[in-house]
């Protein structure tokens, strides 16, 4: 019985229950409530360190188990047995819990097959596309429309991070740069000016180091908010394009994040 389990290993109360059911070799359709409740509560006691909000979820489940256990102890009155179908016993109080466990188990298994796919995919590498924007005409660049949301921006940023990952030099020296979003907004606007007021999303990220990438991304969001630039996308999943709308803005807001 002295079986040590780290609670962080579980991704929730259902996960913990499944673990117990498996370990005690219990039939999921016929859970001995007294035993499982006892085991479950022992496990919660064994949690040394636990974030409060997570603890509450485990406690809710403990209460549920106790409720089911007590309902199973209640005698069934004669009067309730008028239904012929209920001759043996009423609806099983465990029913709902069993359904939840089975449903959760399905997705837990699906998650592990996703993990296998993730591992396989990490074995093969691709390259970012060659930059052909020099060869593109202005008419082609003018085909963008206005419908970029935060998810598109994040998607573009994620793509960018992936592209920069393999470009890392083999040896780097670390130089700490203290730059603010405000400074970076300035330099993004300067970059845009030098490219004739319009550039692709990726052109605005010349630096390789992560802090600068994030700083540039934040300043771009800030510029969008203040409508200094407009970000557009030519159809779903296409490259984002950034257009300069005005060159000046008020620095009245002092809540800029600084790097």
């Amino acid at each position: 019985m002295s079986y040590e389990v780290k609670l962080e290993a579980f991704s929730g109360p259902l996960d913990l229950l499944l673990h117990l059911i498996h370990r005690l070799e219990i039939d999921i359709y016929d859970i001995p409530m007294a035993e499982i409740t006892q085991q479950y509560i022992d496990h919660i006691h064994a949690m040394q360190v636990l974030e409060l909000n997570e603890a509450s979820e485990y406690l809710v489940m403990a209460a549920t188990l106790l409720a089911i256990k007590s309902r199973m102890l209640l005698p069934i009155h004669e009067g309730e047995l008028e239904d012929a179908e209920l001759e043996v016993d009423g609806p099983d109080p465990r029913e709902e819990l069993v359904q939840r466990l089975i449903e959760y188990k399905k997705y837990k298994e699906a998650a592990s097959s996703l993990q296998e796919l993730e591992t396989d995919r990490a074995q093969v590498f691709t390259r970012p596309p060659a930059d052909l924007s020099e060869l593109a005409s202005d008419e082609q660049m003018a085909l963008f429309d206005l419908n970029v949301n935060i998810f598109d921006m994040l998607g573009a940023f994620q793509k960018l991070m992936r592209r920069k990952k393999l470009k890392k030099p083999l040896r780097t020296t670390v130089a700490r740069q203290e730059r603010s979003v405000k400074d970076q907004m300035r330099s993004v606007v300067d970059t845009l000016r030098s490219t004739g007021g319009r550039a692709s999303f990726f052109e605005l990220f010349p630096y390789e180091d992560k802090p600068t990438l994030i700083l540039t991304f934040l300043s771009l969001l800030e510029l969008m908010k203040r409508q200094v630039v407009i970000v557009e996308q030519n159809g779903n999943f296409e490259e984002l394009s950034v257009t300069l709308q005005k060159e000046e803005w008020d620095d009245d807001e002092n809540n800029d994040a600084t790097e």
Binding site: G12, D27, I102, Y104, A111, L114, Q115, L154
Partner: protein, 197 residues
């Protein structure tokens, strides 16, 4: 120099230039000015020859609906040496569970995901959104107009899937059910014949 060989070299060159943006058969057919079935045939030959030729390190694969040039998986070790710190930020158990639920049940709200897992899912969802694997695909009807989440093209790319239909089928409840029935049968059987209760 046959026509398909010409076509293969042109496809290879195009795929080299577009990198991980990749190209669909339809796009290739337009770019090359050749009918789609001919492109499909040339692509298949390009794939088999590059797969079979052990002297080559690159092959063709269709990921997230587009054909791309990829390095062969058996060369992963070689490529890892390029990267100083090859720890890939793989997803946590919680994130994978949330992602599995979104993938199979999309569009789905955060509350529905939480009901299924029995835990709060704000953080995993945030992680997944910031990595571009899930995104808002609409709003639910009714009060609150909760965000509905779905998977992205990046999700397909991240797991090397071609389309969402390629996801492995969900483990079947039927299986659990039948096991259960056999069990029940066996128990009944034993009870009947051994008189043990």
């Amino acid at each position: 120099m046959t026509k398909t060989m010409m076509l293969q070299s042109r496809i290879e060159a195009l795929l080299f230039v577009v990198g991980d943006d990749g190209l669909t058969i339809k796009q290739l057919s337009q770019l090359l000015g050749e009918p789609e079935e001919l492109v499909v045939q040339a692509m298949e030959e390009l794939r088999t020859t590059s797969e079979e030729d052990l002297a080559r390190g690159i092959t063709v694969k269709e990921i997230a609906g587009v054909y791309q040039l990829i390095t062969k998986s058996e060369l992963a070790d070689t490529i890892q040496r390029l990267v100083e710190n090859p720890t890939v930020q793989s997803l946590s158990q919680a994130s994978l569970e949330v992602l599995a639920i979104v993938a199979y049940k999309q569009p789905i709200t955060r509350v529905a995901i939480e009901d299924l897992r029995g835990v709060k899912c704000e953080r995993p969802i945030q992680t997944l959104a910031s990595r571009g694997l899930v995104k808002e695909v609409g709003r639910s009807e009714g009060t609150g107009r909760a965000i509905l989440y779905g998977t992205t093209k990046e999700f397909l790319n991240y797991f090397g899937l071609n389309s969402i239909e390629e996801m492995p089928p969900l483990p079947d409840e039927e299986l659990v059910e039948t096991e259960q029935e056999t069990d029940l049968f066996m128990t009944k059987f034993q009870e009947t014949f051994s008189g043990v209760k």
